[in-house]
Amino acid sequence: MNDFVTNIVNCLPDLLAAAPLTLLLTLVAGVIGLVVGTFLALARLSGQPLLSLPAAAFMFVVRGTPLLVQLYLIYYGLGQYLGHSWVRQSFLWPYMREGLTFALFAYSMNQAAYNAEVLRGALQSISKGQIEAAQAIGMSGFQTLWRVRLPLAFGNCLPVLTSDIIILLKSTALASTVTILELMGTARVIQRQSLQVYEPLIACGLVYFVVVVLLTALMRPLENRLTRYRKG
């Protein structure tokens, strides 16, 4: 039993060193996903078939297929086509060869589709009166969007958006399958090197648990701030 605990503790330094990569994946994909997702949601609700149909199709396909398949499709599939094209000769190729670039792309697109669905609901649920009031005092379409619709929508769906960030954090574990040594990938390397089956996985679980709890705690002040108008 003592050995068991020592083995788990011995895994921790390597795992903690890998944690920043997990957080980087989460943060970058989270931010890009939120920005792209906002545009997707607006395109979906724009009423222009040329914008709303592609947005709807993208959201449906991404949400309807497993993230792991998307990751493989982008990492192996896109890599296969780009490897034979002009991109190979360009200055971008050294970056493109990295699994990280493909993974970030896959996670960002996935997150964008899920965020867009949440934001679509939030934008639709804004009461008509708010928008009419904004128009009545002479706000332009963009001003209405920027000052009224988006702040209200983000405030309303923030709990869902933050739980989507947690889901994203957990799904970054899948990046270990495309050669990225984040938390999960590092745990599997330790598994192979030390020939221990349980200890690296349990240590990895401990680190994830702490990160998830910390991230949840960090989101709470943000939620309070964006919904501060509710406490009159």
Partner: protein
Amino acid sequence: MAEFLNYMAWGPKGWGDEFFFAFFMTLKISLIAYGASFAMGLLFAMFKLSNSRFLRGIAGTYTTVVRALPEMLMILLVYFAVAGMAEKMLVSAGLVGSEFQFSPFWTAVFALAFVSGAFMTEVIRAGLLAVPKGGIEAAWAIGMSGPQIFRRVVMPQMMRHSLSGLGNLWLGITKDSAIVSILGAFGELLQTGYRAAAATKEYGYFYGLTALLFLLITILSLAVLHWMEKRLNRGLL
């Protein structure tokens, strides 16, 4: 274009039959895991709503830990650690021979069900809480037995409340079943896609096909869910 058609040939030369059976394998894994996770969800939801602090503690720990950890990690943990320890315990208890091993397929399905069960617990708990007390008391009053009340009064109303959550979990489990492909060769969709892509070097084509077949499962599921929603809500509107 013609080569892509050749890839889809039936039999040893093409991948058509492999993908055909993989499609049903994914459905099979998802269905069994879903059934098991529903049973686990029901059990732990009752634990959560029980008066025993001990049972509430168990269920609370289960849902908190499983929902805080990545699905992939949980599936690996259950597949390697929990199954391994259970095997050792059974062997040392003398219940089975020393070469005893759980079947990898069932261990993988159980791992998937174990993860999904934690989310199921929360959905079912909310559904159970939404059943009005009066109906249950009325059922007691006319002399229904516990199982009768559950089957005729609680269950139909709970299902109505939790259908959207249950539907989301079904869609989730079909997609999470792809994670099982990292455990071994069970012949489900992603594993088949992986083999086909590696053998032909047509990564884009075969992963695209895999994604398409998963999308087909989602589309079919949505149609069934829509029908079920109508059926469960009959008499309401």
